[in-house]
Every structure is written in structure tokens, then in C-alpha cells.
Amino acid sequence: MYDWPHWIIVAVFSPLLGAVLTPVVSLRDRRVAPWWALGAMTVSSFAASMLVIRVAKEGPFSYLPGGWERPYGIELRFDEFSASVAIICLIGWLALLYSWRYTECMHDMPKARIPYYYTLVLLNLGGMMGLVVTGDLFNVFVFLEILSLSGYALVAISGEHIAEMAAFKYLLMGAISSLLVLFAIAILFSITGSLNMADVTVILSKTTYTTPAALALAMLAIGFMVKAALFPVHIWLPDAHSIAPSPVSAILSGLVVKVGIIGMVRVYSIYNGANLLDLHVFNQVLVWLGALSIVMGAFFAIFQDDIKLMLAYSTISNIGYIVMGLGLSTNFSVIGGTVHVFNHALIKATLFFAAGALIYRTGFRTLTDLRGVGRVMPLTCIAISIGAISIVGIPPTAGFLCKWYIALGAFEAGQPFFGFALIFGALFIFIYYIRMVNAFYFQEPTRPEILELSEAPASMLFPTLLLAALCLVMGILGRIPLTFIEPAAARLLTPLGG
């Protein structure tokens, strides 16, 4: 059953189609919207799981819509990196479930907007699914725009003035980065005459146009770096991620920035495969930017009192890990980096869900106001503690694997400095998470009214706890994603015919 060729289309288009139809089906009763969206996502998740089973059993495969052979038609290519559809579906589905109750507490948002909220979330998820499975450069741009535009709108959706400002900032940065990506794709097209990634790789390896190709590489890299929020082009992220509704923050921070990473991986595989340019300089830039992101993200996070802002800065640090892993470009480090794409998504979604539940119940969002909340919302706070321990990378949680593998990669690559930077950078991160745990459990409440609240509703608690459990399980069962991603990492690092 898993080898039915059309699952890939089902997986990508059911959220997109569902998105378009959400306002229609909820015309009469807007309470239908969440269930409709969940339904669309369930279909997509099922298809995605079939795809993942297939890639695990058969290795990468292609789908040619309409039967047009490449390079004439569009090619959808499903490889091990595309298996991130699984995590997109998981977190997307849980975020939709979580939104059901969460949207009620967004007082500034008119209730009539709720169906459109679900439309935007589904569009965003569908855009991501499309981007990770496509094998066509122009498709990359199309899906990138779908997910970016819906992302801008989602940040702004609460209708608060500050949300609009954050969304505008995000839009400005995002639009520039999209344009850079588009220009770069145009350059590549003019060099190679093709938009198919595999084809472009082959033709690039035979051309001598090194300068335009290098220009395109730089533009693509910067474009995707903005999407991934790497230091120093991260400035849109803290506001956007902290002001968006919590389920959206989970999606943006856990998934959308990762799409920037997947984009980088695709670019990397084209250029490394073509072997046209010497990528050493590029790699060094990535490693240094990664290291800077780790340190700067952690550094800014220390001074935040707002929990969501803190989590947002910590995303920058974690993107730093992943980019450093790619830049070190050894087998171990690439495996570590790509596995962290999955694991960080789990961890950060746990944290944002838990933080959202606290905000939903208490109405406060600063550590000072939230003191003592661990006494009345023990389960949510356990989830947040597990997330904190994972993100710092204490074994045996999910965050440890990436730290171990990237550090190993740094020593393998003969750049021990980055191994040190990575592991000691993680300590910085611990400082601010320990502040959070202290505030929730060990400090006297500054707002006594907190002590009369109760635990978050089940529909919010379930996604939070499930993801927290996964943070632990994926650490212990880490070899499953690792062995899965290993061939892909090896392929990424070998040039064509090399």
C-alpha cells in the first residue's frame, strides 16, 4: 500500500486544498473550522507516513506529475531529508488541536477571523510539505512564498498593534530573502537552462561559469539564512516568534525556520554535487556564523524576562548548531545537524506549547509574574522542564545527540575550537533555562492569584505532554533517525562521480 505513487500529491495538496475550503465549510458554523483543518491534516499525515515508510524501505524516489520526464516536467523528489514531512505533520496536527482552545483566549482577534486562522495555518503547513518534497528549483520558490506569506499573516493575526509591527518587520526581511532566492534561481536557470535540481547539478558540473554560480550560491545562502534566522540576519525572529499565537510560534520556531535549513541543504547538495566551486570558504563562513548564532542567541536570551521571547532567542542558538553542523561538513557533523532539525522541532514545540498553556491559563508571560506556577500547573511545568533539559542537551534527551555528533564532527574535521564553542555555548543556554525552572518551582509567587488556577485543558495538555515524552524517547531511540539519515548525509558530502 505504501508504494502507491500518488501519496506524495495527497500529502502536499490535502492541506493546501483544505486551507482553501476552510472558510467555505465553516461559513455557517465557525466551530467546524478546527475539525475540518484537523481532518485535512490527518489525511496528509497518513500519506506522509506512507511516504516515510517507502523511503525507509526503498530509498529515495521521484514522482513526475502528469508523466512528464525531467527536465521538461516538474519533479517531486522524496529523499531522506524529505522525511521531515513526518515531523511537519506531527507538529502541525498537534498545533491545530492545540489551537482549538487557544484561539478562544486571543481576545484581540475577532472571532470571525478564526476560520481564516486555520486557513493560514494549513497553507503554511502545506507550503512546507511542498518545499521539502520538491525537486524543482522554481517550485522551491513557489512553496517558499506560500509558507512565508501565510507566516507573515499568522504573526499579525492577533490584531494587536505590536503584532502588526512584528509581522511587518518579518515581511520586510522575508520579502528581501525571497527575492534573493528568486534572482539566484534565475541565474542558475540562465547558466544551466534547467530548473530541475538533479539536472542543474549535472550541468553545473560541466560549466565554467564559476562567478555567476558563486553569486547565485551567495544569494541562495543569504536568502535561506534569513528564513532560518541565522545571526546576524535573525533580527525579525524574536519579535515575530514571541508575538505570534503560541501554536503558531511552535510551528514557526519548530518548523518554518527549519525549512530555511532544508533549503540550505538542497543548495548545498547542488553545489557540492556539481563540484564547481571550492566550498571551503563557504563552509568556514557557515561554521563561524553558526558559532556566533549559538553564542549571541544564548547571550540575548539570558536577559529576557518574557518566556516566549526567551524561547525565540534560543531558537537562534539552535539554528546555530545545525548550521555549524552543515558547515563542518564531516559525516558526523552533518548527521548531527540534520537530526537536530527533527529533534529541535520536537523540543521547541514542546516548549512553546507549554509556554502557551501557561499564558492561556494565567494571562501572564514574564518569569516574574509566573513565579510559583509549578504548584498549580505541575504537568505543564514538567513538560517545560523536560524541554529545557533537552534543549540544553543533557543526556539521554533528544538534544544530546546533536551536541555529541556535531562536537565529534568538529574534532573529526580538525577544528576542535568549534567543539569547545558548541559544548560551552550550551552552558550559556542552561543559565536561562534554570532561571525559568527556578521561577516556576522555587520562588514565591509575585501574583498570588496564580495559586487559584488549575491545569491547562486536555486538548492543550495532550500535545504538550506527548511532545515532551517524545523529547525523552527520541534521545534514547536516537539511532532510528540517525541510521535513517546516514545515507543521505553521505550522499550530500560526495560530489557527483566522486
Binding site: L408, I423, F430, F442, L477
Partner: protein, 491 residues
């Protein structure tokens, strides 16, 4: 001989499960006590059940799961690990009883005892870790689990101490992690089951880096100067926690890590070629003297004990660093000797505080008449630290001195003698005050501590004498230590 057996994994797993029960059902006083005692007693039974086998030279191994290809969770109960496990599990039962008595009427008891029981689990995990990664995993878990205990009082002072504790130990942990990564990168294994996994062909630069990183990392918990700062500050914790930090779990985890690094990661042969242990000896020797000197000037009893701990721990480090069989024996048995003596002292300090409210040395005049049994136990522990024969501490000093003669480090003898005198200088005044200096007008009425406090204290004190007098009896920890020494020196 290696035997595949689930027990090395079962020992931490049982107490882990029981601590979960403490969290779940701990709000009822009786269930809480039941699960806490289960955690420590069941674990002790499992550990002791392996003792006969260990004494025969059987090594129990168990491989639970690979996180990733090459690194995973493996357990291994060899002689050295069994020694540490047996000591810590025995002490844990006693400490649990004491803690139940001591913490009566305090707040947040579920949290306290839940994490207390978790520490039981992680300490045995450290003892039975089969590779550096498993070791590191439990080592970091121990840090995390002790944090809520250190800041139990939730006062700003306690929070500050907790922060200091975390910063020190986590930085130490990061050193260990980097060291482990380099070891794995150089050798492709992290296994602790052989007398040394590194070899000279890795290159002296890398070897020096690894040694520096691992030893620095472990020295934080082992409180070797200048990395000892967290330990005196962490004294704000409730007394059972101090006992736990100082005698059983945390500092011993550091000391045990040092032993593992010297004997199982590098191996005696390689290290004696490289000569890296000399600086460690100097640091340890300095710590022994300097910490004792500081201890003399402490008026707060627990602080005085804390600096005494710092001094005593370096015995283990210096014994390990001398790389001779005699000194290695001393280093290993000192894990037990120091643990029982120091925990006696902490129990005494806690009992005095609970019974009379006194925490400073100068207030203790005449206390020996109020609490004769308690202060008697203190005297036994003090004599042990001074190194009087028939008490446990003598054995350590004797073997370290023998080791110093063997390796030609004669200055260590001087350190031993000076340390004995300094120990006398800061412990005997307490004994003197307690028994011989009665302030005028004191009523000679005996008001001993409650039995749950007194009985554990007396058991520990009795054990100090047992360890000192019957060391050669087969089945005592000493024979395990000798088995471990024979293994690491290939004798």
C-alpha cells in the same frame, strides 16, 4: 570472567522506579516512606547479591540500548564499581532513615524525597557505568537531581548557592563531555572495561588535552582546589543533603570519575610513561594542607566539616595519582573510609542542630553531657580522620604512605603527617569543648537526639571502627578494593 546479567541495570532501575512512586504517591506520609525505603533497600539487596560473585572475580555486564551506533547505555559491575556501589547503597539506607527523622515537619517533602531517591538511582548508575558516555549521563543527572535538594529552603541564599553549584558542576560536566568526545574521536570507543583504552600513538598533544579536560572536569565535583568553591557554599542545604553531597554521592562521583580516568581510560602503564599525574599530585597535596588550614578558622560546624571534606577528598586524588598498587588501594578504600566517617560527622552536626539549635563550634561547650552518644560518635569519626590506628582513616594513611615510599614521592609523607596534625587541630577542639569544657551553671541532663537521628549516627560510627579493625576479613570492602587494584595493575 564476564557474565551477562541484568542486575547491574536493575539496581539503578529499581530505585528509579521507586522514586517515580515517591513523586506519584508521596503526598501520603506512609506511602512516601515506604517507597523511599524500598528504593534504597531493594537497591542494596540487588547490589549485595552481586557481591559474592564480584569477590570471586566475576564481572557482571549488561547492555541496555544503543542510542546511536557506537554509543549507548551499558552497565558493568566490576570490582571498582561494586566497591563504590556497595558503599553508597549501604550509606543510602542509613541516610534515608536519618532524613526521614530530620525532615519531619518540613515543607515540599514529596519533591525532596523524590529527588533524594533519584540520586540513589543515579549514583549506582555512575558506579556501574560501562562506558564514559553512560558515566557522563548519570553524572549529569546527578547534578540535576541534587539541585532541587540544595535549594530546598528556597531562600535567596539557597538559590544563590544552588546557582553556584550548578555553574561549577555543569562547567565541569562540559569539560568531561569534550574530553569524552576527543577520546571517542581518537579511539572509536568509550569502554571502561579494560585497563586503559588510550595508547601512546595518539600523540602526546591530544593525550595531554584529554587528560587535562577529564581530570579538570572530575576535579570540580572532587573539590580539588582551586575548583572547590561550590562545596562550602552548598552547605545551606538541609543536613541529610550535605551528608549526601559530601560523603556519598556527588563528591564521590567526582573522585570515582578520577579513578576511572586514571585506571580505565588512560591506564597505569601509559600514565607512568607520560607523567601527567605529577601536577595532579601537587594540586591534591596543596588542597590537603590548604583546606585543613582554612577549616581551622571556621566557626560554623558544617563549614568546618565542608573544608575537611575538601581536604579528605584529595587523599583519593593523590592516591590515584601516585600510580602504585599500594596508593591505589588507599585511594579506593578511602572512598569508604571517608564516607562513613564524614557522614557520621554530618549526622552529628544535624542532630545537634535539630536538638539544640546550635550550629557554631563555640556554642558546643558541654554538649557532650547533653548528647553523650552523639558526641561519642563524633569522637570516633574525628579519631579516624586523624589517622589513629584501629580506625578506618588509618588504613588510608598507611597505604598512601607505603605508596609514597614505593614511588619515591617522599614529600607526600610530609603531607600525610601535616594533615594528621591539622585534622587533630580542627577536630579535637570540638571534642574537647564538648566533653571537658562545661560552662558554669549547666545542668547535666541527657537529652539525646531522637532515635531516627541517633541510630543511623551510631551505626555509621560503628562501621568506622569495623572498617579499621577488620579490613583483612574476606568479604569486607577492602578485598574488593584489592581485586580492583589487581585488575588495573595487571597483577
Amino acid at each position: 570472567m564476564e557474565v551477562y546479567d541484568i542486575r547491574p541495570m536493575l539496581a539503578p532501575a529499581i530505585s528509579f522506579a521507586c522514586s517515580g512512586m515517591v513523586f506519584l504517591f508521596g503526598s501520603n506520609k506512609y506511602w512516601r516512606r515506604f517507597w523511599m525505603l524500598s528504593a534504597s533497600v531493594l537497591k542494596l539487596i540487588v547490589v549485595l547479591s552481586m557481591l559474592p560473585g564480584s569477590l570471586r572475580g566475576v564481572v557482571y555486564v549488561f547492555h541496555l540500548i544503543d542510542f546511536t551506533p557506537g554509543i549507548g547505555l551499558g552497565f558493568r559491575a566490576d570490582a571498582l564499581g561494586m566497591f563504590f556501589a556497595a558503599v553508597s547503597s549501604t550509606l543510602w539506607v542509613i541516610t534515608t532513615v536519618y532524613a526521614i527523622g530530620y525532615m519531619r515537619g518540613e515543607e515540599h517533602l514529596v519533591r525532596f524525597f523524590g529527588f533524594f531517591a533519584l540520586c540513589v538511582s543515579t549514583t549506582v548508575g555512575i558506579a556501574f557505568a560501562a562506558d564514559l558516555l553512560t558515566f557522563f549521563l548519570f553524572y549529569e543527572m546527578l547534578t540535576i537531581c541534587t539541585y532541587p535538594l540544595v535549594i530546598h529552603d528556597e531562600t535567596p541564599e539557597a538559590l544563590k548557592a544552588g546557582r553556584k553549584y550548578l555553574i561549577y558542576t555543569l562547567i565541569g560536566g562540559a569539560f568531561i563531555l569534550v574530553g569524552s568526545v576527543i577520546v571517542f574521536n581518537a579511539t572509536g570507543t568509550l569502554d571502561l572495561g579494560s585497563p586503559g583504552i588510550l595508547s601512546a600513538d595518539i600523540g602526546t598533544q591530544t593525550l595531554a588535552l584529554i587528560f587535562g579536560l577529564l581530570i579538570t572536569g572530575f576535579s570540580v565535583k572532587c573539590a580539588i582546589m582551586p575548583l572547590h568553591g561550590w562545596l562550602p557554599t552548598a552547605m545551606v542545604a538541609p543536613t541529610p543533603v550535605s551528608a549526601l553531597l559530601h560523603a556519598v554521592a556527588v563528591v564521590k562521583a567526582g573522585a570515582f570519575g578520577l579513578l576511572r580516568t586514571v585506571y580505565n581510560v588512560f591506564g597505569v602503564e601509559l600514565l607512568s610513561e607520560l607523567g601527567y599525574t605529577k601536577p595532579l599530585m601537587w594540586f591534591a597535596g596543596f588542597t590537603i594542607i590548604a583546606a585543613s588550614l582554612i577549616a581551622i578558622f571556621q566557626d560554623n560546624l558544617k563549614r568546618r566539616l565542608a573544608f575537611s571534606t575538601i581536604s579528605q577528598l584529595s587523599y583519593i586524588a593523590i592516591g590515584a595519582a601516585m600510580l602504585t598498587p599500594f596508593s591505589a588501594t588507599a585511594a579506593i578504600v578511602h572512598i569508604a573510609n571517608q564516607a562513613f566517617a564524614k557522614i557520621t560527622m554530618f549526622f552529628v552536626a544535624g542532630s545537634i542542630q535539630r536538638t539544640t539549635g546550635k550550629t557554631n563550634v563555640h556554642e558546643l561547650a558541654g554538649i557532650g553531657y547533653r548528647m553523650p552518644w552523639t558526641m561519642g560518635a563524633f569522637t570516633v569519626a574525628a579519631l579516624s580522620f586523624i589517622g589513629v590506628p584501629l580506625f578506618a582513616g588509618f588504613i588510608t594513611k598507611w597505604y598512601i604512605s607505603l605508596g609514597a615510599l614505593e614511588s619515591g614521592d617522599y614529600w607526600v609523607l610530609a603531607v600525610m603527617i601535616a594533615s594528621s596534625m591539622l585534622n587533630a587541630a580542627y577536630f579535637l577542639p570540638i571534642v574537647y569543648l564538648a566533653f571537658f569544657k562545661v560552662p558554669p551553671g549547666t545542668k547535666m541532663r541527657v537529652t539525646e537526639a531522637s532515635p531516627t537521628l541517633l541510630v543511623p549516627t551510631l551505626i555509621c560510627a560503628a562501621y568506622v571502627i569495623v572498617l579499621g579493625t577488620t579490613a583483612e576479613v574476606p568479604g569486607m570492602p577492602f578485598s574488593l578494593a584489592q581485586a580492583a587494584v589487581h585488575f588495573v595493575f595487571g597483577m
